[in-house]
């Protein structure tokens, strides 16, 4: 920011003119204890719960525990400069973040301050971070699909706009990749994305932002980051800041996707500050209201009714499990709040099934309502097929002689698993997904060698684009499934030109 000399003079002039009339009135307290990101202050009689307070060195804090003789304050910044006896000043404001179009394409901290080095954000509006969720009558049932571009999700656990779908799994098996791919696929879908990184490594966040930039996803994405080195209160607040920014768009009739990566770290941060504030610990040392912090957050995801503009917030919360244990405290809590979960399994991941989605344990409670008709038709039986295959697979390992029906089921199953594999950062359009799933479920892939399936898929979907545009055109315009005859002609024609590669084995 540059200051012109005239501006300074004008400012000083104004100051001098108003010199006598001005008096600063403030309500203060005194710090009586400080440490670990928590301060206790005496005084501040009329402070509100959740109000922002300012320490004498300019660091902000948030009033949390209002007790008879002191106030517990979480410090939102470096706390080493604050000493016992310092003044704490009320600001009279509840914590809020800047919201609006100006934030799109930026990386900000949970207070809405830019951390991408691209200059100040000139936001005109703010929103309190603790808002109320839309009520019963303000909502509408979820019906529009949110295309993630990931075959295994769009076909098996479809997500609708306004839904809350949990993504759960161990560390390092591709949870964040699902979020990134989903955000990348929202290009040209009239969606705004908010990616909230909670307790992530700065380098990881940097990598994510670069991926967004490279694929042009930053044009419709806000990244809110509270990295691992930030004080616990900021990690705790990050998701609320993210959802407040999203709400502004939702109430303006837009569709928003919010990704919370991840809520187990937020719960741990909240546990830290609750214990430091001396709130009684409960199960796994989490405080009593740890369920509430997640339910109040996820309830703010909604599909609004038409009177309110019909906007939506779709939430994809992440929860990390330890060794696949989904019966731990935080996973069970969040599973019960959300409208379904996508369960990632490490043994699938290491056997090469990526994304490592366990179709048996993953559900979407909104389900088929959020699928286009064509997808509903081709994917209808996929789930049962896959379940039957997993059962047979275990069974068939013991015997070599199988009757033809069982063998055919196994063959089909292997191809299904193969089709549901997908490379990183390559989200697939829904019509492409329908094409390959049609070929699979109608048996056109049964004579294609398993190791050729992925090549078949990419070549076939590309080939259709140039040779049978009417198929894609039909799906795009009517979202229904084209005639079987059309498909048959196209598939037969393509298969004549498709050359299976030499067997890899």
């Amino acid at each position: 920011m540059s200051i012109k000399a005239e501006e300074i003079s004008a400012l000083i002039k104004k100051q001098i003119e108003g010199y006598q009339s001005e008096m600063e009135v403030s309500e203060v307290g005194t710090v009586i204890q400080i440490g670990d990101g928590i301060a206790r202050a005496h005084g501040l009689d009329n402070v509100m719960a959740g109000e922002l307070v300012e320490f004498s060195n300019g660091v902000m804090g948030m009033a949390q525990n209002l007790e008879a003789n002191n106030v517990g304050i979480v410090i939102l910044g470096p706390f080493t400069g604050i000493e016992e006896g310092d003044e704490v000043r009320r600001t009279g404001r509840i914590m809020e973040v800047p919201v609006g179009e100006e934030l799109i394409g930026r990386v900000v901290d949970p207070l809405g301050q830019p951390i991408d080095g691209l200059g100040p954000i000139d936001a005109k509006k703010t929103r309190p971070i603790q808002g109320e969720a839309p009520g019963v009558m303000a909502r509408k049932s979820v019906f529009e699909p949110l295309q993630t571009g990931i075959k295994a999700i769009d076909a098996l656990v479809p997500i609708g706009r306004g839904q809350r779908e949990l993504i759960i799994g161990d560390r390092q098996i591709g949870k964040t990749s699902i979020a990134i791919d989903t955000i990348l696929n929202q290009k040209d879908q009239d969606m705004i994305c908010v990616y909230v990184a909670i307790g992530q490594k700065e380098s990881t966040v940097r990598g994510v932002v670069e991926t967004f930039r490279k694929h042009g996803a930053l044009d419709y994405t806000i990244v809110v980051s509270a990295s691992a080195s930030k004080p616990a209160p900021l990690l705790y607040l990050a998701p609320y800041a993210g959802v407040s920014m999203a709400e502004e768009f939702m109430y303006n009739g837009k569709h928003v996707l919010v990704v919370y990566d991840d809520l187990s770290k937020q719960a741990a941060a909240y546990r830290e500050l609750s214990l430091l504030l001396k709130r009684p610990p409960g199960r796994e040392a989490y405080p009593g209201d740890v369920f509430y912090i997640h339910s109040s957050l996820l309830e703010r995801a909604a599909k609004l009714n038409d009177d309110l503009g019909g906007g939506s917030i779709t939430a994809l919360p992440f929860v990390e499990t330890q060794a696949g244990d989904i019966s731990a405290y935080i996973p069970t809590n969040v599973i019960s709040i959300t409208d379904g979960q996508i369960f990632l399994q490490s043994d699938l991941f290491f056997s090469g099934v990526r994304p490592a989605i366990n179709a048996g344990l993953s559900v979407s409670r909104v389900g088929g309502d959020a699928q286009i008709k064509a997808m509903k038709k081709v994917a209808g039986t996929l789930r049962l097929d896959l379940a039957a295959f997993r059962e047979l697979e275990a069974f068939a390992q013991f015997g070599s002689d199988l009757d033809p029906a069982t063998a055919a089921k196994l063959e089909r199953g292997q191809r299904t698993v193969e089709v549901l594999k997908q490379d990183l950062n390559k989200p697939l359009k829904v019509e492409y997904q329908v094409a390959i799933l049609y070929a699979l479920t109608r048996g056109y892939l049964d004579d294609v060698p398993v190791h050729d399936i992925l090549r078949f898929e990419s070549e076939f979907t590309q080939w259709l684009e140039s040779n049978h545009t009417e198929i894609y055109e039909h799906i795009r315009s009517t979202s229904g499934l084209p005639d079987d005859a059309l498909w048959e002609a196209a598939l037969k024609e393509f298969k004549r030109s498709f050359v299976p590669s030499e067997s890899a084995e």
Partner: protein
């Protein structure tokens, strides 16, 4: 906001007693003196809070220090000693003070200024501010603080009214730096 619930209870009891006997003002004065003496004398407070001395020994010391006090005040201190609440003495006196001022409609104000205030100035400040906060008058404590540069800064309870040059400069700095 109270510093200690225990001290509040003692203070309330003491205050009611003083009110009955109509000695609020005298007791208040004595208590303030006692606090000054105990907290101003090096080691005396530590000695009274130390478990190494017997209660009787401590009582003896206290009685010597406050020879001129009224019976009620002496008794109150003995009671504090008996109940092992000697560490609450400071808060006890503060709470008592607060109660007494509350009843008299007086608020305590600390005025920071660059030089000592004249009688007239004190009177004026007392008048205008006591009206503002709805009290009868102010008990003004004048503190000299040359770092203010000019103007005054007034603290009443948890409220600070700042019209010092230092605060104005700080605000100007904040505005210019955005």
């Amino acid at each position: 906001m109270t510093k200690s619930i225990v001290a509040d209870r003692y203070a309330k009891a003491m205050f009611e007693l003083a009110e009955q006997k109509g000695e609020v003002e005298s007791i208040q004065q004595q208590l303030v003196e006692i606090k000054k003496a105990f907290y101003g004398t090096e080691g005396l407070k530590d000695l009274l809070e130390s478990p190494a001395f017997s209660k009787n020994k401590k009582k003896e010391i206290v009685q010597n220090v406050i020879e001129n006090a009224t019976v009620d005040v002496k008794n109150a201190l003995n009671l504090l000693l008996d109940n092992n609440r000697m560490d609450e003495l400071g808060n006890f006196v503060d709470s008592f003070n607060a109660l007494a001022f509350e009843q008299a409609g007086v608020a305590v104000a600390t005025v920071f200024s660059t030089r000592e205030l004249t009688e007239e100035e004190t009177e004026k400040i007392s008048q205008s501010f006591s009206q503002m906060i709805g009290k009868k008058s102010l008990k003004i404590d004048n503190v000299i603080d040359p770092t203010l540069i000019g103007g005054i800064r007034l603290q009443i309870g948890n409220h600070i009214y700042d019209s010092s040059v230092r605060a104005k400069l700080a605000r100007l700095e904040q505005q210019m730096l955005g």
